[in-house]
Subunit: 241 residues, 2 copies
């Protein structure tokens, strides 16, 4: 059983490795870790949509309901999946010399993880981090930017800003990559351009019609553009302090 403190939010206890002592009944054929591993394998293979209890159970050679012996609910499992898939924060952030480099490295590491497990974007976020690895990512961020002189509140604001930016960017990239985006087919522009002109959308029409606009991919340069804007903005704040 997973009950330790029924008042704790789902997954918290398990994420911190709090497991009840020796049990009485038959030995479980697997561990919570096995279940989490299986879940990650399923998600990596077929995306978040495939992360269902029956699917994971099949992967382990179990019937669907057996999973509820390891985990109280699907929600609880998702918390564990997220923490495990994010993994520990990178050391590299601590080794940087200054806050700006730390933020850059942190954000790139964050994006890398999302490249490895794109489905992490689909795991609902409940609130502030409360599981070990997620807290670890926050910790190395705050640690790395200590030399900026930012207040704790401002540093946290910067972390939220970059977290948010990385997630959005990664989501966009993934969406463009997998499902053929609207503008990929020439028929679409053919359909769209005259109607846009008619409806008074000249600027966007020239952007789409100009040829230089590609919908099918998010270039690295665009990612860097946004990141540099944000860092410049933080820079202005740091300079002011």
């Amino acid at each position: 059983m997973t009950e330790n403190d029924p008042k704790l939010p789902p997954g918290l206890a398990l994420a911190w490795g709090v497991t009840p002592g020796p049990r009485r009944g038959p030995k479980p054929a697997h561990t919570v870790d096995d279940v989490v591993r299986a879940g990650i394998e399923v998600a990596d293979a077929d995306g978040f949509g495939a992360v269902s209890m029956p699917r994971i159970a099949r992967h382990l050679g179990l019937t669907p309901n057996a999973l509820y012996r390891y985990v109280r609910s699907r929600d609880e499992l998702l918390v564990l999946l997220a923490d495990t898939a994010w993994g520990p924060p990178p050391d590299s952030v601590a080794k940087t010399g200054n806050w700006r480099e730390a933020m850059t490295v942190w954000t790139h590491a964050f994006l890398d993880r999302l490249g490895v497990h794109p489905w992490l974007l689909d795991v609902p976020v409940r609130g502030a981090p409360s599981t070990p690895n997620l807290l670890g990512w926050a910790e190395v961020f705050l640690d790395g930017v200590a030399d900026s002189g930012l207040s704790a509140a401002d540093a946290l604001g910067a972390a939220m800003l970059l977290d948010n930016y990385a997630r959005g960017t990664a989501a966009l990239d993934r969406d463009l990559r997998q499902q053929a985006p609207p503008l990929a087919q020439p028929e679409v522009l053919e359909f769209l351009l005259p109607r846009m002109a008619e409806r008074g959308l000249p600027v966007m029409a020239s952007v789409y019609g100009g040829g230089g606009y590609d919908d099918a991919e998010l270039p690295d340069a665009d990612v860097e553009f946004g990141l540099n804007r944000i860092l410049d903005g933080i820079q202005a704040l740091v300079d002011r302090t």
Copy 2:
């Protein structure tokens, strides 16, 4: 039937009001617009999770499958729902005097819409905007920031950045507001703090333990903080040009 050009992405034709000419069979009891309106009502009332074909059909007094006479798939319907719920872009952006004010007004208007229809955050984004209202929002943005002297690419980058920021912020706000976030209960901190200390997370431990940190709400000040950082960053770019 909705087929006009089967090669167009789902919903595109309908979103632009392209409907096939007069039909032969019985008169439809409703219009595509009715279906969309019903969908929005359902979503407003019970969230994106409630937007199912049976649910919308019931709202219209139809059997679930009847909807497929108006719309090719649920996906197509979602495209229409999103464009209609966003609605036309605000006039206010065009009336601003300079790019910075325009971006500020645009972002706040964007956030306002997400306040009205929070489920818009859950509608999957397929790629670059291709429906009339969404294109309109992009248009007024580019129009409003023309005086910045930014290149079209940079202005688009700024639009993406702010769009992304607003979405992330609104999502966070909504999540914190509805489902009780982890740190809301005192037992959680009681559980967490000793373990954080043990695991080498002193900075986050002092943030959570310091008392000033509230998980239950996203203050307006935090929203403005991020927005001002981004605008400062764009400012730096504008100044450089």
